[in-house]
Symmetry: C2
Subunit: 451 residues, 2 copies
């Protein structure tokens, strides 16, 4: 068995330095079960951050389904097999009409890539409006539409075909009052307007050059691309009414709406299967990833027959691994377990308990500025000062490291100020686990959290 030091040395020998690890003293993982990870020394960690193993680490039903299929055959969608049709039926049934056509890929990035292609094929426009701090994936085209990346460290700035609207954050953002939903929707409208006017200006500037003209013309927004609850922006749950209004404005401007449900989909928000549904909004394209196969590499896009038809212009779409029988078996097993174990309702109940617990802590700890989110997708915003709401970045980081070291609790930070405790555990996470986490945070803030 290698030591942590050995493994870090071996990573630096043959793996990219652009990869990062969690914690000053990274966790050397040996096994997992439910909401727990175990390191090679046998220490059990309460996992509050891994949203990918949705139905629990190493769930036996998923293992069994994948292993059974693997021992039979793995192949691709140019052949026929039962489990592909079965999974497409089951997945499509979780979406409101007319969202009914599924595409299967291998990751959330591939899903968002395909969502881009679908939206552009349907509208003939290349422009995209996104929300500030959004992250939509690691490919060239997705870094282009991810302010979290292009405006962050090592980024090369906003591309001309992308417009950014303010994140609808009622705690830290520009608008915090009862009219915030309307005001933030206005910011989306303004971004759509900028896309249109820059497109028109580009066309006239480009003058006689046809290529230049068409390139500039394509800057008009073909897509409004957003998470219903924003992850990288700091677990931001938009004010009620924002999402339906923003979707309506985008459609009025001729764009299609992509709901990026890669982080939050599949019941994590508790009240609904999808974040957009929890907000009473209906997108044209939905992208799925992370928890869809409980960690098996799988992504999907669900869209309308109309948009799927625009994409089927004669060019075959093929993903070698996309929709392979193993992935479909994993995906089906996840849906089965979610239903059999009632995990969506569980997420709603435990999430409400946990959010209430943090709200109660906020009454005693000034450092807790805000508690937000839905179901088991929560954020606890730590501040150095409740009036200014200045991010308590160092406090949040130290808390996370201490909980890892002293309490064997895995937590992480998020948001532009890196001060928001991000809570998105495997869904078996229960009330007793929530109480352990609350108690550990309470103890830490009692010792260190005085403002």
């Amino acid at each position: 068995m290698s030591t942590v030091k050995d493994l870090l040395a071996r990573r630096s020998a043959h793996l990219s330095p652009a990869l990062s690890v969690h914690y000053r003293r990274p966790v050397h993982v040996a096994r997992g079960s439910g909401q727990y990870l175990y390191d090679t020394a046998g220490v059990r960690y309460l996992d509050c951050i891994n949203n990918v193993p949705l139905v629990g680490h190493s769930h036996p039903a998923v293992t069994e389904a994948v292993c059974r299929q693997l021992s039979l055959v793995n192949t691709n969608t140019r052949f026929l097999y039962e489990v592909l049709a079965e999974y497409a039926d089951r997945l499509a049934a979780l979406f409101p009409a007319p969202l009914s056509v599924c595409f299967f890929v291998n990751s959330g990035s591939e899903a968002n890539e395909l969502a881009l292609r679908l939206g552009r094929a349907h509208t003939g426009r290349r422009g995209v409006v996104v929300l500030d701090h959004a992250y939509h994936g690691n490919t060239t085209s997705l870094v282009d539409i991810s302010p979290y990346k292009f405006a962050g460290r090592g980024g090369s700035g906003r591309p001309a075909h992308v417009q950014v609207a303010a994140a609808p954050d009622v705690y830290r953002g520009r608008y915090r009052g009862p009219d915030a939903a309307e005001r933030y929707a206005g910011e989306v409208a303004a971004a759509l307007d900028r896309a249109r006017s820059e497109s028109q200006a580009g066309q006239s500037q480009a003058g006689q050059s046809q290529a230049g003209q068409s390139q500039a013309g394509q800057r008009a927004a073909g897509l409004f691309f957003a998470e219903a609850i924003l992850g990288c922006a700091g677990q931001v749950d938009p004010p009620s009414g924002f999402l339906p209004a923003a979707y309506r404005l985008a459609r009025d401007a001729g764009a299609v709406v992509v709901a990026d449900e890669v982080q939050i989909g599949f019941g994590r928000v508790g009240s609904h299967w999808w974040g957009f549904a929890a907000h009473g909004a209906q997108p044209d394209i939905v992208s799925l990833g992370k928890p869809i196969g409980n960690g098996f590499p799988l992504g999907a896009v669900v869209t309308t027959p109309e948009i799927a038809a625009s994409f089927a212009n004669g060019m075959e779409y093929f993903s070698t691994f996309g929709g392979n029988p193993l992935a479909c078996a994993a995906g089906l097993a996840v849906l089965d377990v979610l239903e059999a174990e009632g995990l969506r309702a569980h997420a709603a109940a435990v999430g409400a308990h946990l959010a209430a617990g943090f709200t109660a802590l906020a009454a005693r700890h000034e450092a807790i500025g805000d508690v937000r989110g839905r179901g088991l997708f929560l954020g606890v915003d730590l501040v150095t000062d409740r009036a200014s709401r200045a991010p308590a970045t160092q406090l949040a980081r130290d808390l996370v490291e201490t909980l890892r070291e002293q309490d064997a609790i895995l937590l992480s930070t998020e948001g532009p100020g890196d001060n928001v405790l991000k809570i998105k555990p495997p869904l078996p996470f229960g009330v007793a686990d929530a109480d352990l986490l609350l108690d550990a945070v309470d103890r830490y803030l009692t010792r260190h959290g005085r403002i």
Copy 2:
């Protein structure tokens, strides 16, 4: 058990019409083993086309490795685990220095996407030179550099930042003589020149507009992106000397060289692990996919420490599933089996036997215009006329359908004329299998192949 008709109906209900299936009467696959697929009626098919299950369908060693890991834990690279470091060590050891830094992703498309990002980060240039008919993947940026897609059905033409050099095809291409390698390298030089001159022209045209100027300036070639043996161009094995010369020219022009080994890597070519090595050439970046995990969704990029350092500019690179323990376990098992079963040498021997067999058939069947390729990556070019070399498209398609119906042999067609029999079986494919295939093709051409 659904019928083929049922399954096709269910596909059309919830899957994209842009997906295609093999054969007029698609195969409903129930299980696989070695070089065989079995349908739900128990019919055994000799599989001559699935290059993804490299070490054989449902190889028990791969199944066992994945299932063992799946029952323990699946996590991501922000945690530490033994199998990631082990796999990176083992994979890197198969490459000549200084190729030594591995990135893990989930597909060949994701690998080529990352290769693009690496090359652009290193050179600061966006332009790409590719070979005609090349296919490099299904994302927006990869369709842009794939003439097979952008110049094919539903494509929207060559983007300004891409230049296309002729495919180095000595059977159907412009140059067929002893100087073909030099002449085709000259075509690459011309493409690099076009990239440079269009970039300069773009810069002066763009005039005062800084954004326009930098965009046009980036058209200079930052990457030369090519397969060492071309798949979609029709199993084209370039003339000896072409690849080293093209690589040298690309580097002289300031580009880095990407070898797309997604189709041909991991010993399929027999003489070497990699196509570029079989051609005596050394790339700067190698992309891997398809067979790397025997069908488990996995891709990788291997590059030099220098290029990896250019990419590590402060922006974290993270792939949720990339390098997960399951994928690493699958990848390691594939390397173990390749070695334990001597499959590379086997591919060389069986491939030579099969190529010699087709060459012998060519003496009796005028329809066989050319036999080419390496190891178990072969192409048999069918013609209506040996003088004009006109593609026998219909003959090739009918042959493939007949072999599927009457001989239970799975074969496919490839190339711009869709007339090249594409042979790339799982590597357990043996001499007796080769003889079965030769016999079936012989019988078909005896009945139908008269020119």
